[in-house]
């Protein structure tokens, strides 16, 4: 055997060894930090999931941004503004955490803008009435919280730290949404009808946010090992339904599912079939607003280019001026 061949075998063995140690560290609940050795697949999976998460926060500003100027009162307006600003912040925490894995911010933007990277499909639905602001906060942020809380314990340190900050801020989002729904539900018959209509439109897409059924989910096993996931999609969905149905009762609204029924034996709600064709259609880009969202996002990026360049040119000029003064 040639020395070179031997060297490759050695390194393969070494890699296997490193991988084993790596998995053991995670099993012991140790955190992985940016400069630590990690398997390439771990890096790639995290870049994919974390950047998609960041993109979702950024695109998630668009449906709500639609209503900032039309909020019915100053109280609602400051709350919505603060919520949208939080989402920008969450996107930024997550982008910077993802950058620690060796991908640049611009590469991530490019992946989003070219459609190579996905974002949560829920943001491809339109926000046609004020009640949608309530339904989004209550249901969409509610489902997001269920998805996100387990990530505060995930194995990659920068992701876990970002998620702790995100989760702390997210609960105000859900409460402000529920308050909007409550106000409308206790208002005029037209207002209540508006709230019911929003629930009708957002209920099923919110259930889809918890991801494909376990049978269809491709990443579950590996993700469980790396603590990117603690519970399966179906378990998370059941948790969401069980906690949300009583809240709908408080609102006096009806969940748009004729098969929804308390199952005494399971101690959980049984629910109807989810339209997964719709889910995959939206994922593949054929939702009601996919094109509009990307157009708004790419447009904002392009229209802001001269501002970014001007800021950079100004920074460089100031730097040079300072240097000259020193001489």
């Amino acid at each position: 055997m040639s020395p070179e061949r031997k060297a490759t075998i050695m390194s393969e063995e070494q890699i296997n060894n490193l991988e084993k140690q790596f998995e053991e560290r995670i099993a012991r609940d140790e955190k992985i930090e940016p400069k630590d050795w990690m398997p390439e697949k771990y890096r790639k999976t995290h870049i994919r999931q974390m950047s998609q998460h960041a993109h979702s926060e950024i695109v998630g500003m668009l449906p709500e941004g639609n209503w900032i100027t039309r909020a019915p009162s100053l109280r609602r307006k400051v709350a919505l503004l603060a919520k949208v600003q939080d989402e920008a912040g969450h996107g930024l925490y997550l982008y910077s955490a993802t950058e620690t894995l060796g991908i640049s911010r611009d590469e991530m933007y490019e992946q989003l803008h070219t459609g190579k990277a996905k974002y949560s499909s829920i943001f491809n639905y339109p926000t046609i009435t004020w009640a949608d602001m309530g339904a989004i906060g209550w249901l969409v942020d509610g489902a997001a919280i269920i998805n996100q809380v387990p990530l505060c314990n995930t194995s990659y340190g920068p992701y876990a730290r970002a998620m702790i900050r995100v989760c702390k801020e997210e609960s105000f989002h859900q409460r402000q949404g529920f308050e909007i729904m409550l106000k409308l539900s206790n208002g005029t018959p037209e207002q209540k009808e508006m709230a019911q209509d929003a629930l009708n439109r957002w209920w099923w897409p919110a259930l889809m946010m918890l991801g494909p059924t376990d049978a269809e989910s491709v990443h579950t096993e590996q993700s469980m090992k790396w603590k990117l996931k603690r519970k399966s999609n179906d378990d998370l969905r059941q948790q969401f339904i069980d906690q949300t149905v009583p809240q709908a009762d408080i609102l006096g609204l009806t969940i748009p599912d004729p098969d929804l029924k308390w199952n005494e034996e399971r101690g959980s709600y049984d629910f109807g079939e989810i339209n997964w064709d719709e889910f995959w259609q939206v994922v593949k880009g054929h939702g009601p607003c996919n094109k509009e969202r990307m157009k708004a996002r790419v447009g904002a990026w392009e229209r802001g280019e001269w501002v970014r360049d001007a800021a950079m040119a100004y920074a460089e000029k100031s730097q040079e001026r300072k240097k000259k003064q020193v001489v």
Partner: protein, 108 residues
């Protein structure tokens, strides 16, 4: 190279320059140290401070912020953790419990 070409080249260079990455450290209240909060992009230090205010202290998380351009940080390499940190492991005599004292000695 003509003046126009030169100007075009300079423009491209400006265009290619991305906002650098900054690390953000926040003191949450007086009496506590600055702690690493995360990072962000900004054209210069002043903008980095303003962005850090907006991104990391929207809910009174801080009373003081430091920003430092990430490229100016020198970090130890975890692969060298052995030679870096293990020498401290066998120096138990640096801890008070290493020393035997009679029980009668109080408060030491």
């Amino acid at each position: 190279m003509s003046e126009l070409q030169l100007r075009f080249q300079i423009q491209i260079q400006i265009h290619m320059k991305k906002w650098p990455l900054w690390e953000v450290f926040v003191r949450s209240k007086n009496g506590l140290e600055h702690r690493h909060f995360g990072s962000l992009h900004a054209a210069d230090a002043d903008m980095a401070l303003e962005n850090a205010r907006d991104v990391y202290t929207r809910r009174n998380e801080g009373v003081s912020i430091w920003v430092v351009e990430s490229k100016n940080i020198t970090a130890s390499n975890p692969e060298h953790n052995g030679e870096m940190f293990e020498p401290a492991q066998d120096k138990v005599y640096r801890h008070p419990t290493f020393y035997d004292l009679p029980d009668e000695v109080k408060h030491m």
